[in-house]
């Protein structure tokens, strides 16, 4: 009975003093202490499932060169149908470059060369034979800064369908304008001033106008390059809510610097670092239990 006292050693009451148990910790323990993600920072191969059962776009070994410089290295990734994938990573990691590959926007940059296969509907859209104009209608894009045309709201949306020949007459065009504005959640705010310039709207409204303009040409995939970085929190929430609704009909790929936004809007998240796709996985997993140390460093704010 005596040994109840001797057998039980109490650490100091108010401090976290070391105990004899700590002394017994071996090297392996010390390691467990230091890391939770288990894939080392040195590993450059992609961690996680790059393939999905139902891809809308399948990328294989995509690399992008700006002149001699390789901006992204051998990236293979599926963009899942009717889902939102978020591309995150520090500036210069290649996430926007990768996004622009998906509708050939890199073509507009001198000295930029894209290799690898980007397959949409069994067609390699990276082939030089592809006509990029219909491609960009099929794979639409929303940019960081809202960029409405300096024309009326109506004209902003009608422009695309008209040049793509999607409407026979003014009546059909009207229909497209109204339905696009409704789907972009802007109709109730602008229905009484369709003839007024799009540039007169607030930033958040302008961005939704740009989304409506993208939707108007009947895309299947919508690319968004930091669509909320110029918007206030309320406008951002509206766009995020819209993204969630649009996901049912479209496939969405969004580049964002806001990790919280990635966590909120996406189902899958891909983390890029120095031109490599480091980790991809379910957003829930990435933000609670990332596998790669670089991913964890980045999302927990331990970068650099």
């Amino acid at each position: 009975m005596q040994n109840t006292q001797t057998g039980v050693k109490t650490p100091p009451r108010t401090t976290a003093g070391p105990t004899e148990l700590d002394a017994a910790s071996d090297v392996k323990d010390a390691v467990t202490v230091a890391h939770t993600a288990t894939v080392s920072r040195d590993v450059r191969e992609t961690v996680g499932e790059i393939r999905v059962a139902d891809p809308r776009i399948r990328c294989d070994n995509v690399s992008v060169y700006y002149g001699e410089k390789r901006a992204i290295n051998d990236i293979s990734l599926d963009i899942e149908k009717n889902a939102v994938i978020a591309l995150i990573g520090p500036s210069g990691c290649g996430k926007s470059t990768f996004l622009r590959c998906l509708n050939r926007m890199n073509d507009t940059i001198d000295g930029c060369r894209v290799t690898g296969d980007i397959v949409l509907d069994e067609i390699n859209i990276n082939s030089p034979k592809i006509d990029v104009v219909p491609l960009r209608a099929q794979v639409g894009m929303v940019f960081q800064k809202p960029n409405p045309f300096p024309k009326s709201i109506w004209e902003n949306i009608a422009f695309g369908p008209r040049i793509h020949g999607l409407a026979q007459d003014k009546e059909e065009l009207d229909e497209i304008v109204v339905s696009s504005l409704k789907r972009a959640g802007l109709w109730s705010e602008v229905n009484d001033r369709l003839d007024q310039p799009g540039t007169g709207l607030s930033g958040g409204q302008q961005q939704r106008l740009c989304i409506a303009r993208t939707i108007a040409v009947g895309p299947e995939v919508i690319l968004m390059d930091e669509p909320c970085s110029a918007l206030d929190p309320i406008a951002t929430a509206r766009i995020e809510d819209l993204i969630d609704e649009l996901r049912e009909q479209y496939t969405i790929c969004i580049v964002t610097h806001s990790m919280q936004q990635a966590a909120r809007v996406s189902q899958r998240t891909a983390y890029f670092h120095l031109g490599d796709l480091i980790e991809v996985g379910d957003t829930d997993q990435i933000f609670t239990n990332p596998r790669h140390e670089l991913t964890e460093d980045y999302i927990t704010g331990r970068f650099g």
Binding site: T10, A16, L21, T36, S40, T288, T300
Partner: protein, 251 residues
């Protein structure tokens, strides 16, 4: 020791997380001391120890409230994710278990006072033997779980949760012995009830200690092992530790 709580670009974040961790250890130290005092009251038949436990109980409660407040503030301000989120959530849960251990200590203290301050004779040493033996086991478990929490050592925590639950076995056999004892002489029933309450409290302390060790595993490895210890302990941690070692070499 608290390496994995650090390294944020925003240094204040490191400080806040470390501070949170330290406060839990402070609470753990106090709770451990409460349990130790409660058991000493039993062992030495000295209700002064029991009084100390009862006087300090509010300190445990206040620590719980304070830490909870810090947890909420950190979630609001920092938006923790990944490891940081797991640490903060585990802390939030661990302090609930710690507070309950504090409650059990107070319960034991009350029982000790009842037993030794009343007119009736105290239970025989024979009856108390099981209680003391179990108490020792529970204290060891609590101490080990707090040590694994201190060093954020999942290997250590795993060893604790995967070990055969000696305390539980002891609890079951104590109950059997008590039943036999009562059959022999039913006049012992008053003492027997006290003993049952005591060993139940002690058994609860062991359970809470294991919970804390489970949170440590979740914090460090991201594996939620609750309610599936069987399969977790069978498959072992070889996989995790191997990769851990690899990354250590590269560091």
């Amino acid at each position: 020791m608290t390496h994995s709580l650090e390294g944020h670009t925003v240094h204040r974040y490191d400080g806040e997380l470390n501070n949170l961790h330290l406060r839990v250890l402070e609470m753990g130290g106090l709770v451990l001391d409460q349990v130790r005092h409660a058991l000493r009251a039993l062992q030495e038949k000295d209700s002064n120890y029991a009084n100390t436990v009862l006087e300090r109980e509010h300190e445990v409660d206040e620590l719980e409230l304070g830490i909870d407040d810090d947890v909420i503030t950190m979630i609001a301000k920092r938006g923790p994710v990944a490891r940081d989120l797991r640490v903060i959530m585990s802390i939030s849960k661990a302090i609930t278990d710690l507070e309950r251990i504090g409650d059990e200590a107070a319960r034991i203290a009350h029982l000790a006072k009842g037993m030794y301050e009343s007119e009736r004779s105290a239970p025989s040493g024979h009856l108390m033997r099981d209680v003391i033996k179990m108490a020792k086991l529970a204290l060891e478990m609590l101490q080990e779980s707090l040590a694994s929490f201190d060093s954020l050592n999942a290997t250590h925590a795993q060893a604790l949760v995967c070990r055969e639950n000696e305390l539980d076995l002891e609890f079951q056999s104590s109950l059997r012995r008590l039943a036999t004892f009562l059959l022999e002489d039913a006049r012992n029933v008053g003492h027997a009830i006290h003993i049952v309450l005591l060993i139940k409290s002690i058994e609860r302390i062991g359970d809470h200690a294991r919970n804390i060790a489970e949170y440590v595993i979740y914090m460090v490895r991201g594996e939620d092992v609750r309610h599936r210890l069987g399969s977790y302990c069978e498959t072992g941690e070889t996989q995790t530790s191997e990769t851990d070692i690899n990354s250590a070499r590269k560091r």
